[in-house]
Amino acid sequence: MYATLFVSLYFEVFLLITFFEKSESSSFAALPAFTPEELPTVAVFIPCWNEESTIVGTLNSLLALNYPKEKLEIIAVNDGSTDNTLAVLKTFESHPQVRIIDKENGGKHSAMNAALSFTKAEIVGCLDADSFVESDALLRIVNHFVSDKDVAAVTPTIKVFNAQSAMQVVQRAEYGLSVFMRNALAHMDSLFITPGPFSFFRRSVILEVGPWRHGHSTEDLEMCLRLQENHKKVTNEPNAIVYTKTPKTTHALFRQRVRWTYGFLKNAIDYRYMFFNPTYGTLGMLVLPMSLISLFSAIFLFSSLIWNTLVFIIQELVRFQTVGLTAPTPQFDIFFINTSVILSIVIVLIILTIVLMGIGKKLAKDSFISYDVPVYMALYGFITPVWLITALYKAVMNTGVRWR
């Protein structure tokens, strides 16, 4: 227990030190001023599988991007949809910037590769068909490719679009934490996911390391690990903002997170030689091992909590069986306040997590004062381990996971 808490606290402290160091800023707060000639050609891929309800919004947000029209092409790939997606896409067919590919269903990676073979653009990226971008997002991302020839990939800041259900509100807080994590990991050159919504790549680099792979249903994670394996630079632009529709129900969220965790575990096995390997810098020596340890720590802490709760319930049942229903005697005395080391460290960890979340929200220009943070703190600790355990089981049994 002490070791688990020490390791978790160490990682949070390490991330905070890295963030506050900021010896070399990776973000461009001001909008870059480039002439159209200086800007590279860009292609945005939209893999679509049954996206008839959201694809129009996604396409319109891309068409509204602040980027020279002659340098931006949008390639929508209908990946064997069984709904009306293709018909909706065809309404954009006449638009000069939009290309439409219709193919049999083969998974997101196959849709990305189909689009890749269709373009000669210097910079390529993806926007999931349930996401929308701010108009200056692409310009801010491209700025990194223009300013630093070593940059191979750039990730954006992802925010939850129109959170309505309790689960979406919880995810809004969680995405705030992710914004911090992505930024801090970029400072350490240790990003290991280029998320589906609006991550961009230098096409020449993709051709060099190879096209997208299935990657155990997490092609974004596999591609980033492959880039890191090949010592390519992956960075983050916190001011490039993309909004994504998040799962509305607990069941949908559970399925998504099982897929993500399963993908991480299986890719961790595939890329196991990167763990504790100094060749891969901080990513290999700290970030990847810590991500795996955190997963098992969460399962361990959750199991302890469940065990203690069960012991308490059994005790109360025995009490009820022995003396019947009894009213507790309320008493307050500071003598009985628990000051154990474990509880104190857990409180410090919770406070630090809230601080990290606050920094993330500030980076994403969100208000920190929101009810989503307490809801997140109250709920997530209990539901996260459930999908971690499920994903671990599926990974061990090699069952595979489905997208939806």
């Binding site: 890295t18 810098g281 306040i337």
Partner: protein, 229 residues
């Protein structure tokens, strides 16, 4: 590929270690305060018992009018027991300081018991004494938890019932002598109800059957009922 300088790993380690050490020092500080508080309560009870003994010896028969069955320190002993049990959970049952406080507490209980018996004889009071012997050794007393629930409920229902609990394995000759005098068997939980020893778990109903006079004691429930009438 960027490599983090080893100084940053060490700095993060030092900060984490500092937070851990601070938590440990703070916990030790609060535990020391708790031990001090328990010691202070024990000293207070000790002085009170000594004072009562002296007062009783000085005034002899005349003192009876000033002494009722619940005038002695049972409530303070209960508070002490709760705090001692919390300290035991925080510091560990094997902690030397906890064991010392527990031995002192057991001695105070025995002194209170003896004094109360003396007072009862001289003043014709009829308090009900219940001695409870338990064990914290794993596997030695599977029913001690349940017996504890029963006695807690009885104490809540009948505040005048005088319950004294003793750790069967405590390293204290006075308790060993008490165990021997009362004829407590190693099959725990062990109870002594008005000088008669009982082995094994006793339910509320069983204890009420052994002690029909409990019915004559005022109960907290009865008091509440009286007030609502």
């Amino acid at each position: 590929m960027r490599t983090t300088p080893w100084t940053k790993y060490i700095l993060a380690f030092l900060i984490t270690a500092f937070i851990f050490i601070t938590a440990i020092i703070a916990n030790n500080f609060f535990n020391a305060k708790r031990v001090d508080q328990i010691r202070s309560i024990e000293e207070g009870i000790s002085i009170d018992i000594l004072s009562l003994e002296t007062q009783f010896e000085l005034l002899q028969e005349q003192s009876c009018k000033n002494i009722s069955e619940d005038s002695i320190l049972s409530r303070e002993l209960d508070t002490l027991a709760n705090k001692l049990s919390f300290a035991e959970a925080q510091l560990g049952a094997d902690n030397e300081e906890v064991l010392r406080l527990k031995r002192h507490y057991s001695l105070l209980e025995i002194k209170d018991l003896l004094l109360m018996q003396k007072v009862s004889d001289k003043c014709n009071l009829e308090p009900i004494f219940l001695l409870y012997f338990y064990s914290n050794v794993k596997g030695e007393c599977t029913d001690c938890k349940r017996q504890g629930y029963v006695l807690t409920e009885l104490a809540k229902e009948y505040p005048q019932l005088r319950i004294y609990s003793f750790d069967y394995n405590i390293d204290l000759s006075a308790v060993e002598t008490l165990i021997s005098i009362q004829g407590i068997q190693p099959e725990l939980p062990g109870l002594v109800i008005n000088d008669v020893p009982y082995s094994g778990f006793q339910s509320i109903e069983a204890i009420k059957e052994i002690l029909p006079e409990l019915a004559t004691l005022a109960t907290t429930t009865a008091t509440t009922t009286e007030k609502t009438k």
